[in-house]
């Protein structure tokens, strides 16, 4: 039995089911990260002296990572637009570049984390590092999740383009929405943890 409303819009919502599904998931994600941002405000406003991010963190590396994620967001949306233009080769190119930027982000994060550990900075060191590792760690897990899904649609999952192109295009739109959300979270994490 086929799952209904994969491509056609459901009359009552005006959306195909997957799109409403991803937005509901993203709403729950807003609350997940919102809880941590709330904890950050609670911790920061509760003390008289809060360390500047620059005391512990590497701003140039994080700036480069911000540019990586922004670039990956634009290549992600371009991969969807390529499918809308029936250009499968460009889809492969843009989603491949998206994956490269995502891996680049992880590599830089790896260097950042190992630098902290080599200085004996751990989540247990103080509240600032505790919330830093929790928030960026959860974000890294989201990047990893994105890499797995984008990687699947770049590789074996892309076969669907030959059998059901509209449904495949919708799948890319959905993973794109998730990926832009991951970018959006970083847009706030970067100034909050590193700069302010």
């Amino acid at each position: 039995m086929d799952i209904p409303f994969n491509v056609k819009e459901r009359p009552d919502t005006g959306l195909y089911n997957g799109k409403l599904g991803i937005w509901l998931f993203l709403a729950s994600e807003v609350m997940l990260f919102g809880g941590l941002f709330s904890a950050y405000i609670f911790l920061r406003t509760g003390v008289d002296n809060w360390p500047a991010g620059t005391e512990y963190l590497n701003v140039p590396l994080a700036t480069l990572n911000t540019l990586f994620l922004i670039s990956s967001s634009v290549t992600m949306v371009m991969s969807w637009a390529s499918l809308k233009l029936n250009d499968f080769k460009k889809f492969k190119l843009y989603s491949g570049v998206t994956l490269l930027f995502a891996f680049g982000f992880l590599v830089i994060k790896y260097f950042e984390y190992t630098a902290k550990f080599s200085h004996h900075y751990y989540p247990s060191t103080n509240n600032f590092l505790g919330i830093y590792f929790t928030m960026t760690g959860l974000h890294v897990l989201h990047v990893l999740g994105g890499i797995i899904v984008i990687g699947y649609f770049f590789g074996p999952g892309s076969k669907m383009w030959n059998t059901d192109p509209e449904r495949f295009t919708n799948r890319i739109e959905i993973v794109g929405l998730y990926w832009h959300f991951v970018d959006l979270v970083w847009i706030f994490l970067f100034p909050v943890l590193y700069l302010l």
Binding site: F37, A39, F188, P191
Partner: protein
């Protein structure tokens, strides 16, 4: 969506990308300004909000979406604001963590 519309969207994506890259530089520059902690935080968060809005409106197509999604997000925004203002409310109660 017609191919012409998609091509028009692609131009918008490039413009938004350039704007996001420039605003990232602005965010870093603000952190070097000597304008005090409160003004620095306010300005930094303002730029971050503008960047996030650009991503949400254009990359996530929220500028032209269905009402169902808008209502979902309005409910989320209300719950999110409660979460954010809860700890700020405790400031008036002089809560201190050591």
């Amino acid at each position: 969506m017609t191919p012409e519309e998609v091509k028009h969207h692609i131009k918008t994506y490039i413009i938004v990308f350039v704007a996001l890259a420039c605003l990232t530089i602005v965010t870093v520059a603000i952190s070097y300004l000597d304008i005090g902690v409160k003004a620095g935080i306010s300005l930094g968060l303002l730029v971050a909000t503008v960047k996030a809005s650009l991503v949400a409106c254009y990359f996530m197509h929220l500028i032209d979406e269905k009402t169902t999604i808008y209502w979902t997000l309005i409910a989320t925004a209300v719950a999110f604001l409660i979460l954010i203002f809860l700890p700020i409310g405790t400031m008036s109660a002089q809560v201190r963590i050591y």
